[in-house]
């Protein structure tokens, strides 16, 4: 079939070309991206907003392409202290997250050609709490209706508390800290990023479904790793797993690149993991990127690895293609020269939530957009096979979690057989009866 298809290709190309020419003739006025012409076209055919596809959006460019459209600005505070990963190929690109937000701006603007709304992204960098607060103020002064925050938990809280009446919209797209959804929750913060407990529960359900219930847990020594480990231990208790032993990897820093390369690692990891009780899986809790990547294929006993390495619970992987994920990967690929990552889809989802809420509210006012987003029926589609909704008790986005091995999506949780009276998605994370959050 491939040969057949290729043989027809030139014909298809030329006919598509002539098709384009005809199209230009038919709706030449609206295709010419001139405001006056647009208005004229709108006058003759009021409902026919048949404009060309919006141009690739650019950060911090607020010049309206269509001045008669409602203008909607979305802010983004980008933490510039990027942590490196042990894996060279996984190191964060400079535009991680921002590229996802821009991709959603373009999707919003395609819809906007029909709803007469136009979206822009404003990005401010920050490295400290003070800079983050200054960035927030700068964005608000420019009239943003929502701010996406790719910042640590303390900065999320500071930004949230700078909004005295908590009537704004902040999207937390990176901090997994449980406390932001629990005792330190804020009514103006919406968590796109799943918490540690949601990720742990997603992984635990799958391991229990596989009937691999005995887990040997390797934990990093830094606070984020400890919290991740706590979530995995809690998940074991919830779903019938068993932590046969927890071992702490005491190093708290590491040089990512050394000339001796694999030689030492190959010898250290077996020693670190030897003499463990019988186990089915090695779980790694290493958010801090100190040792996790070095665990697979180097353990004393030959066992699969999951958690921070091996089978990883996440919101996205470049291999996700179900439920139109393929189309999302392609759209992202047209705008960028790298694959889409989890922070990108988190930012994409946040911008799309503003887009959907603005479409439903038919407004560019913060209060109306927020009201639409908190409506009982509000949901967002983000290539996970079902609607994503907001947990009313802590403003966490309810979502299926992908389990990825770097080459394919191994599974998507929740798993069959784990039941819940309201939503199966609420089998992951702290549920309403358990929450410490109150707004």
């Amino acid at each position: 079939m491939g040969a057949n298809g290729e043989g027809k290709l030139p014909i298809r190309m030329s006919s598509t070309g002539s098709g384009r020419r005809i199209l230009h003739r038919i709706c030449g006025i609206s295709l010419a991206v001139v405001a006056a012409a647009l208005l004229a076209a709108a006058n003759t055919a009021p409902a026919a907003a048949q404009t060309a596809a919006p141009a690739a959006p650019v950060v911090n460019d607020v010049t309206p392409a269509n001045p008669d459209f409602q203008q909607i600005r979305i802010g983004y505070v980008e933490w510039k202290e990027k942590s490196l990963t042990l894996s060279l190929s996984q190191n964060p690109p400079d535009d991680l997250g921002v590229a996802g937000a821009l991709s959603a701006i373009r999707d919003n603007n395609t819809t906007g050609t029909f709803t007469k709304q136009e979206f822009h992204l404003l990005v401010e960098p920050a490295k400290t709490l003070e800079e983050a607060l200054a960035a927030r103020q700068k964005l608000i002064d420019q009239g943003v209706v929502a701010i996406i925050t790719d910042v640590p938990a303390d900065a999320v809280l500071a930004l949230a508390d700078a909004d005295a009446d908590k009537a704004g919209i902040l999207f937390n797209i990176s901090a997994k800290d449980e406390r932001l959804r629990e005792e330190d929750c804020r009514a103006n913060v919406f968590h796109i990023q799943p918490s540690h407990s949601m990720l742990a529960d997603a992984l635990a359900q799958y391991l229990v479904w596989k009937k691999w219930p005995r887990w040997f847990l390797l934990t990093g020594a830094l606070p984020a790793d400890q919290e991740w480990a706590e979530a995995l231990k809690r998940a074991a208790g919830r779903f019938g797993g068993q932590i046969v032993e927890e071992r702490v990897y005491s190093e708290t820093d590491t040089a990512r690149r050394t000339d001796s390369g694999h030689v030492q690692v190959q010898r250290q990891m077996p020693v670190f993991t030897q003499n463990a009780p019988a186990h089915d899986v090695v779980l790694v809790a290493d958010d801090s990127e100190i040792f996790g990547t070095y665990v697979p294929f180097r353990t004393w006993d030959p066992r699969p690895v999951a958690g921070s390495a091996g089978l990883i619970p996440t919101t996205w992987t470049p291999n996700h293609e179900q439920w139109a994920g393929f189309q999302m990967q392609n759209r992202f690929g047209v705008l960028n020269t790298r694959p889409m990552q989890s922070l990108d889809i988190n930012a994409w989802t946040a911008v799309r939530m503003v887009g959907d809420a603005a479409t439903k509210a038919q407004s560019n006012e913060l209060a109306k957009i927020r009201e639409a987003m908190l409506d009982e029926r509000f949901s967002v589609a983000a290539f996970k096979g079902e609607k994503l909704t907001i947990r009313k008790w802590n403003h966490q986005l309810r979502q299926p979690i992908l389990l990825a091995d770097g080459f394919s999506v191994v599974s998507v949780s929740p798993q069959e057989g784990f039941l819940h009276p309201n939503s199966l998605l609420d089998t992951m994370g702290y549920d309403e009866p358990e929450t410490k959050c109150s707004f």
Partner: protein, 323 residues
Amino acid sequence: MLIKRLALLMCGVAMTATPAAAYTVYISNERDNTVTVLDSTTWEVTDTIKVGQRPRGITVSHDGKWVYVCVGDDDTVEVIDTATNQISHTLPSGPDPELFVLNPEGTMLYVANEDDNLVTVIDLETRTAIVEIPVGVEPEGMGVSPDGKYVVNTSETTNMAHFIDTDTHEIVANVLVDSRPRIAEFKADNSEVWVSAEIGGTVSVIDVASKEITQKITFEIDGVRSEAVQPVGVKITNDGKTAYVALGPANRVAVVDAETYEVKDYLLVGQRVWQLEFTPDEKYLITTNGVSNDISIVDVATNEVIRSVGVGSFPWGVAVSPN
């Protein structure tokens, strides 16, 4: 094949007590790149046709001579000659075609290009793309009004039904519906178009004259969580009295009174039911069940699922010959 068909036809004549005519049913199997051919009297698989990569949207020409299949990963529409069950030629569909609709005259094919936010119009006589119409993000469902006046396209991320005037190829209305609209299906009298929203979990009934939503149908099934209720395929009987809605991973087809918009029943079919098609005599409704690799046959008179038939891997679309 011709002989086989003649034989079946003769069988049909011999069994005049059973008025069911013999139709040929074509199922596109998304995963194994085949089209399964079945006979509607025996429900036996009579042939399996190897096609291009990722076949999804499928339709039969009004004279029954051609089967059109969107093969998305090959960026083309393949045309099967039903006399030989061989691929005869391809059509310039534009990139990643997923679903399409044939106009009532059978002269134009309207294709949704999921990756390019376009609807491509193909002249079947000259086999050329004559126009591309920019629509919302991820165009998917394509419905044509029986009078040929409008084509309605749904865009899955923009969440709209776009009304395209088939004379001018201009969009004349954009109707906001619920999340991930999948299918647009007109009533035979041109009065309404029904649009299913997979993630929103609803079917919007749009009045064609005013282009406004007049009804929103929701579905509640005991023991099935609301997230699993994902309406996709919609079919309405010619008399406009009964509609069938495929509910995806809820594994059920809803039977809806198309005059009162009340859901009358839920029929248990195979897993992840997406697309539906009647036999032309409306005696049977065929459903494609993607996850269980089979199709279910519903007896329309009794609303009973009378059997299921194994087909290829991930059955997606279904089309039935007119004769």
